[in-house]
């Protein structure tokens, strides 16, 4: 393919951009959450400090090889989702490594991190980790239902699975976005986005009160640092993907950042309003509401 070594540097550069966006956005979102609760809230750069702090802790323990590799898998998964998605439309260098595969690759790479993390947490030997992972996987597989259907719908709509081509088809103004040309699929996608972001009401995986923070219970220090890095990158990568397929992508970084910010607000707004679902409730919710909506959306796309 048209791979040039310089692309690695560009990819790293774009990675550092998205990392910073992710960290700042995380801070801002928490600030907003605090303000909704009439608090002053954290400093918006607090995530930076936390991440540095965790990397600079002196001691750490490990339960075994998989425990050690868990965060590595996790961050690789997050980075992979980002690196396999083209970021800026029209830019060869900010297309990342999207030449390696299309949207299906991105979709399945999401699981790379989850699976690796689950394995690491599993070797930690903590029962809460296992319970958290069990819940997480159960919920993710249910929440993927609308995502899969939305992706199928988009691919039907554009007759392509290539993100670049999908973005290309949406160029030329807001009226060409999937949002406008196929609103039903977009609604489906936005619902799927709620599930993908793992925020309330679908955040039972971490459930701090019940099973102290679930899978990462045993993770600390630099391991936690790596996972926090992923926590900033991974949602951003997913947001970039959604921006690309539903909201016309972006031709420059400014537009991309703006769109990321706005789209990111959607689960945040839902999250501060709705309380958490229990895991069986959330699975049922996905099967009961998201699945029929998906069927309707696909049928509408197919026949109208």
């Amino acid at each position: 393919m048209d791979f040039k070594p310089i692309q690695i540097l560009y990819a790293l550069w774009s990675f550092s951009i998205i990392l910073n966006i992710g960290l700042v956005l995380q801070g801002i979102v928490r600030k907003i959450g605090a303000r909704v609760g009439r608090r002053y809230g954290i400093r918006f750069y607090q995530p930076y400090i936390d991440i540095v702090k965790n990397y600079s802790l002196r001691s750490s323990i490990t339960h075994g090889v998989m425990f050690y590799l868990g965060p590595v898998f996790r961050l690789t998964g997050g980075m992979g989702v980002y690196f396999f998605t083209p970021i800026i439309y029209g830019s060869v260098y900010f297309g990342n490594f999207s030449f390696a595969g299309d949207i299906v690759l991105v979709l399945y790479f999401i699981f790379f991190g989850s699976l690796g993390m689950a394995l690491g947490a599993g070797e930690g030997g903590h029962p809460y980790s296992a319970i958290g992972v069990g819940r997480g996987l159960a919920q993710v597989t249910a929440a993927e239902i609308p995502l899969v259907m939305a992706i199928i719908g988009v691919a039907m709509h554009y007759e392509s699975l290539s993100v670049t081509e999908i973005v290309a088809a949406q160029q030329g103004g807001i009226m060409n976005w999937t949002l406008m040309t196929n609103p039903l699929i977009t609604i489906l996608g936005l619902i799927a986005f709620l599930g993908a972001m793992m925020r309330s009401p679908f955040d039972v995986v971490l459930a701090p009160q019940e099973i102290p923070i679930g899978p990462p219970t045993e993770y600390h220090s630099s391991f936690l640092g790596v996972m926090q890095t992923n926590r900033s990158v991974f949602p951003m990568a997913k947001t970039v993907l959604f921006v690309n397929i539903f909201f016309g992508g972006a031709t420059n970084w400014a537009a991309m950042i703006l769109k990321i910010f706005l789209l990111y607000m959607w689960p945040v707004v839902v999250g501060v309003v709705f309380p958490r679902f229990r895991v069986d409730q959330s699975i049922r919710w996905w099967y009961k509401y998201a699945l029929p909506l998906g069927v309707v959306a696909i049928l509408v796309t197919q026949y109208f």
């Binding site: 608090r39 809230g41 954290i42 607090q46 936390d50 002196r58 001691s59």
Partner: protein
């Protein structure tokens, strides 16, 4: 020692018998190590700044003082703006606030949780009970001096100290961390035997390894 931690003979799937010693097989027996600060003072200063501005408190209320911790999260006091947050697991926490009187039974759990935290870690003694026993100074099962059992970085006096004084205490702790004075973890490792002797003197049914990794 509880029955489940006594040595026992177990039959493996292949019919071979072997001994399981839970205290040895289930737990790591290593002693804690001294972790020297980074030799580069600039880096160390930067790290200390980060550590001080991101204090993650272990959510473990050991005594009545825990009631004074809760208001810190409320809009009125909002400790989050100082970089103070609560974590539900010792692995991810850096600050252990001993909130008030500490009975012998709780001390055992406190020691275990403290040792499971990853360093550098800080201990804040809250209320006069942690300083000298306070109103429980002559009780049959309440400790008098916390610093005999854990390396305390800072005491916040009062019975009870108000949330304002807690915030003041945390600010003081931050200053000390930035100045590189809070090396409690290393102090604990260096004087490990002394601490352990003190702990074991009052915790009569010591059924855990010397250091809970």
């Amino acid at each position: 020692m509880k029955e489940e931690f006594e040595k026992r003979i177990v039959t493996g799937p292949d019919g071979k018998q072997f001994e399981v010693d839970p205290m040895k097989d289930y737990f790591c027996e290593d002693r804690p190590q001294v972790h020297q600060p980074n030799s580069n003072t600039v880096i160390e200063k930067f790290m200390n700044w980060a550590r001080s501005e991101s204090l993650w408190i272990l959510g473990f209320g050991t005594g009545c003082g825990a009631i004074e911790m809760r208001p810190l999260m409320t809009p009125r006091f909002d400790a989050y703006r100082y970089g103070i947050q609560w974590r539900p697991t010792p692995r991810q926490a850096n600050v252990f606030v001993i909130s008030g009187y500490l009975s012998v039974k709780t001390l055992k759990r406190v020691v275990r949780s403290y040792e499971q935290m990853q360093g550098p870690k800080y201990v804040v003694g809250l209320g006069s009970c942690t300083i000298n026993g306070g109103m429980y100074w002559d009780s049959y099962n309440t400790i008098n001096r916390l610093d005999y059992y854990l390396p305390v970085d800072i005491y916040i006096a009062g019975c009870m100290p108000r949330p304002e004084s807690l915030l003041a205490g945390f600010e003081q702790l931050k200053k000390m961390i930035k100045a590189g004075e809070c090396e409690g973890q290393n102090k604990y490792a260096e004087n490990f035997d002394w601490y352990k002797a003190n702990q074991k003197k009052i915790i009569k049914d010591w059924d855990m390894p010397d250091y809970n990794w």
